[in-house]
Symmetry: C2
Subunit: 239 residues, 2 copies
């Protein structure tokens, strides 16, 4: 059930059989959620964290005028609100973008893991550090990259992350969201995202149709987007 989360951890360090068991046992139950379901609201008191088993989920903040900024797209194997274990209240929304499947881990279990399994705790901590690294890379996108590079970078990132959990093809991956959703990730409008997608297509870099991203020229796309996957920490080493 939580195989993708295990894959994600094993891409960063070795995981003992015992640690794997502890994780499996900490999962309480799983549940299907429809599209556009808000899973966590800002300020809500939390007593469990949510693991994404299948689907696509985002975290976002909204502004007074109704605009949104999506801060991360979550793929299967990601914890959606592991930071809620210590923050207790989130500063943002967590929402499904497509019908998804999630599982729950009570904070009491996480607390016990933090007492009894230091190495596993460090690995969980690590996953929140990778989230922060993704935030930082998005900061660079919003602050310094052109719209074309932003889109290209997002495509490269999602491809790399989906590869880790076995959900990407060699040159493409599913991305079942609208152009408006993309705009909310990238700090743009949907109209401009549409124009930039056309340019990516016309220049033979990538296409986005029928909820699928096809990367046509990976080499050139990475160069234009200045994509360097180091920040994703996809490297097995003792942590």
């Amino acid at each position: 059930m939580i195989e993708k989360a295990i894959l994600k951890l094993k891409a960063r360090d070795t995981l003992s059989a015992e640690e794997e068991d502890v994780l499996r046992e900490a999962i309480q139950r799983s549940e299907d959620v429809p599209s556009d379901r808000i899973l966590v609201r800002p300020g809500e008191e939390l007593s469990q964290s949510i693991l994404l088993l299948d689907g696509l989920v985002c975290r976002y903040k909204d502004m007074r005028n109704g605009e949104r900024q999506i801060m991360e797209l979550h793929v299967p194997g990601d914890f959606l609100d592991l930071h809620g274990f210590l923050l207790k209240r989130l500063d943002h929304h967590v929402m499904s973008l497509v019908p998804s499947r999630v599982a729950f881990m009570p904070h009491a279990r996480l607390e016990r893991i933090s007492r009894e399994h230091p190495h596993l705790t460090r690995l969980l901590w690590l996953t929140t550090l990778i989230d922060a690294a993704i935030h930082r890379e998005w900061l660079v996108s919003l602050g310094r990259r052109t719209a074309l590079a932003r889109l290209g970078h997002l495509f490269c990132e999602m491809h790399a992350r989906l590869c880790v959990v076995g959900l990407a093809a060699p040159n493409g991956f599913p991305l079942p969201i609208t152009q408006a959703d993309l705009a909310e990730c990238l700090g743009l409008t949907s109209v401009h995202v549409n124009r930039v997608l056309r340019r990516l297509r016309e220049e033979g870099l990538a296409t986005f149709r029928d909820s699928w991203v096809e990367i046509l020229d990976s080499e050139r796309l990475r160069r234009i987007a200045e994509f360097d996957p180091d920040y994703l920490q996809i490297e097995r080493r003792p942590r």
Copy 2:
């Protein structure tokens, strides 16, 4: 020596005398560094983490064309690269913006803390989660706020964070950086930052002169910037 770090933790949870001792003992030595000194380079193998005792330090990434994006400003009491404990290599630079004083904590000590002091470990983990929360708020700034609101939000954030460690006045705080540095935080140019600072001044919201930010109308500034301090988690509660 590490009083400000203690203050920072105590603003989020209670810290036992024993935990405080453990922290003090884990500090190896301290050192003065001049302005503009690079403390950590991306990719460099790390074996210790750095705590900022005094001064001002930033983390940034740079682009091929020489532009920079600053991702966080660090105030005394902050760890500069606690995430390096598990990441082992950073994806960005850490650089002093003014003459500063830092202290070092070997990763071996952190590893031991993670084995022997679960609650203290959770508090250290928490500080990295607060860094991530700051990243998220900056994402909203760069993605959705106007230049005026970005500047206002940064001023509000720095004031709140400096208050925690006792370095702010009721309506102002030291900010010894250039307008060009501000621009690199905010995804703007120094020319535009200059114009927007003028507007903040003319509208009676805030001033920035002689390395000092004076907040003239806190109420209105917060409303314009849509600043809500919840994301900084300045609240004592069990973690």
